[in-house]
C-alpha cells in the first residue's frame, strides 16, 4: 500500500492574544501544535484521549481538552493557555493562590487545574464548594492535592473580589 502524502495546511491561531501562522497536517491536535510547533509546553500531555485534563486550554471562554481538538478546527477561536495568564503586574490571582495554598505536589496537573478555576471564576465570582469541585472534575490530580486546590480556588475568589 502506498502511503498517502497528506499536505500540510496553513492555519491561523489566536493564542494568548497573539496571532500565529502555522503549517500543520490536519491530524495535528491543538495540543501537539502548541507543544511541538509553537514551543508552548505549559499545556501538558498525559492520557492524550480526553480523560485527565492535563491538556486543558480555554477556548472562547470555555475550557476544553486540547488533545481532542484539531489545530485546523481551532482557527477563529480565542485560545488561552497557562502561558497567557500572567500579566505585566505579575501572576494571575489564581496562580498566586495556588502558590499561597501550596496546591500542588508534582505540578503536572496544575496548568489544567488553574485554567479550570480561572474559567469558573470568570463566570462565577463567588462559587460554592460544590461548584468548585465540579469545575475541576475533569482535571485529575494523581498526587491528590484536591483539598488544597479547592482552598486555592476559594482564596483566588477572595483575591479577585477584593480588587
Amino acid at each position: 500500500m502506498a502511503t498517502r502524502e497528506t499536505s500540510k495546511v496553513p492555519v491561523n491561531l489566536d493564542i494568548n492574544g497573539e496571532q500565529y501562522d502555522v503549517l500543520v497536517e490536519p491530524r495535528r491536535t491543538l495540543l501537539d501544535c502548541l507543544r511541538e510547533d509553537l514551543g508552548l509546553t505549559g499545556t501538558k500531555r498525559v492520557c492524550d484521549v480526553g480523560n485527565c485534563g492535563a491538556c486543558t486550554v480555554i477556548a472562547d471562554g470555555r475550557t476544553g481538552y486540547s488533545c481532542l481538538m484539531l489545530a485546523v478546527e481551532s482557527e477563529g477561536l480565542k485560545i488561552t493557555t497557562i502561558e497567557g495568564l500572567a500579566g505585566e503586574d505579575g501572576l494571575h490571582p489564581v496562580q498566586q493562590a495556588f502558590i499561597q495554598e501550596d496546591a500542588l505536589q508534582c505540578g503536572f496537573c496544575t496548568p489544567g487545574q488553574v485554567l479550570s478555576v480561572v474559567s469558573l471564576l470568570e463566570r462565577n465570582s463567588d462559587p460554592s464548594d460544590e461548584e468548585i469541585r465540579l469545575a475541576v472534575s475533569g482535571n485529575l490530580c494523581r498526587c491528590g492535592a484536591y483539598p488544597k486546590i479547592f482552598r486555592a480556588a476559594r482564596t483566588a475568589a477572595q483575591i479577585m473580589s477584593s480588587k
Partner: protein, 289 residues
C-alpha cells in the same frame, strides 16, 4: 497517539457538507465535537480518509421554538443545552441530564447531535430523546426526512443515519397536560458515562393517575431502548410508590444486558429496575408538585 492521515474540509452550509459526503464516499466522516470520534481515531479504531468539520455551519447551532415545541440544532453543545433557559422551563430534563455528561471540558465541546448520531450505548441524550419522543431531522442528497427517536437507534454505535446524511435538528414536540420528567443515572465514577441511565416522562390528570408515560433506558444494553412493559404497567394507575414500584419491576423485560469489568449483566439488570423506580418517582413528584 496520532490519528491516521486524512484530508480536512470545513463547509459552511449543510448542502455543502452533503455534497462533500457524496463526492468523498463512505471513507468520509463528519466531525462535530470530536469527543467520541477523535479518541477512536487516535486509537486507530476509526481511520476516515476525509474529515468534514461541521463546526463552521452556523445553521446547525442553537435552540429555537418550533410548532409549540422546540428544535435543537445538532451542533449545539452539551453545555448550551444544559444551560438553556428556553429548555429549562418546559423540559428540565435537559438541564438535569446535560449536567451529568462527562465533565466541563466534554460538555463545552461535545454536541447533542454528535452524541445521538454516535449512538453510544452509554450516552445520555439517547434516553432523553426516546423519553421525549424526539423527532430527528435528517438532511441528505434527496432532501429532508424525519425519523422518530424510537426508530433512530438501530444497534450498538449504529443509528438510522446513512453515510451521506447529516443530522440537522432534534425536534421536541410539545407535551399536553400536567407533565413531570426526570433523569436518574448511575455514573461510571471515572468517565461519567451511564452505567445505567433512565429517563422518565409522566403525564397526569387532576386525579393523580398516570395518563401517559414514557421510560427509556441507556447504558444497560447495546442501545438505548424504551421500557414498554413499564409504561403499560403504569398507564391508568395512580402515580404512587406502590404502582411505580410494581411497574419498575418490569424494567429490562426483553432487553439484552451488557456486562463488563465494571458491572456484570446481573448488576446492570438490577440497576435498571432501581433507577427506573427512582426516575419515575422523581417524575411523578415533579408532575404533582
Amino acid at each position: 497517539m496520532i490519528p491516521a492521515e486524512f484530508d480536512y474540509y470545513a463547509p459552511t452550509s449543510v448542502q455543502e457538507a452533503i455534497g462533500l459526503l457524496q463526492e468523498k464516499g463512505p471513507e468520509a466522516k463528519l466531525l462535530a465535537g470530536g469527543h467520541s470520534l477523535v479518541p477512536l481515531m487516535k486509537l486507530r479504531l476509526a481511520a476516515p480518509s476525509v474529515l468534514i468539520d461541521l463546526n463552521r455551519i452556523a445553521e446547525l447551532r442553537g435552540i429555537r421554538s418550533s410548532d409549540g415545541g422546540v428544535a435543537i440544532g445538532a451542533m449545539t453543545t452539551h453545555s448550551e443545552v444544559e444551560s438553556s433557559p428556553e429548555l429549562a422551563d418546559r423540559w428540565p430534563i435537559f438541564h438535569v441530564a446535560g449536567a451529568m455528561i462527562g465533565d466541563p471540558m466534554v460538555r463545552h465541546r461535545g454536541t447533542i447531535g454528535g452524541s445521538l448520531a454516535h449512538a453510544d450505548p452509554a450516552g445520555d441524550w439517547p434516553a432523553v430523546a426516546l423519553a421525549l419522543d424526539a423527532r430527528m431531522h435528517i438532511a441528505g442528497p434527496n432532501g429532508e426526512r424525519v425519523v422518530p427517536a424510537g426508530e433512530f437507534f438501530v444497534d450498538m454505535l449504529t443509528s438510522a443515519l446513512e453515510p451521506d446524511e447529516v443530522l440537522t435538528e432534534i425536534e421536541i414536540p410539545a407535551l399536553e397536560g400536567r407533565v413531570g420528567m426526570a433523569y436518574e443515572k448511575f455514573r461510571h465514577p471515572a468517565s461519567g458515562y451511564a452505567v445505567v441511565g433512565v429517563a422518565a416522562v409522566v403525564v397526569t390528570d387532576g386525579s393523580g393517575s398516570c395518563q401517559d408515560c414514557r421510560v427509556a433506558i441507556t447504558g444497560a444494553g447495546p442501545k438505548a431502548t424504551r421500557a414498554t412493559g413499564v409504561e403499560e404497567a403504569l398507564k391508568g394507575r395512580p402515580l404512587d410508590e406502590q404502582s411505580i414500584s410494581a411497574a419498575a419491576e418490569r424494567a429490562g423485560e426483553g432487553m439484552a444486558f451488557l456486562g463488563d469489568i465494571y458491572a456484570s449483566e446481573e448488576y446492570r439488570e438490577h440497576l435498571t429496575k432501581v433507577y427506573t423506580k427512582r426516575a419515575l418517582l422523581a417524575a411523578a413528584r415533579s408532575a404533582q408538585g
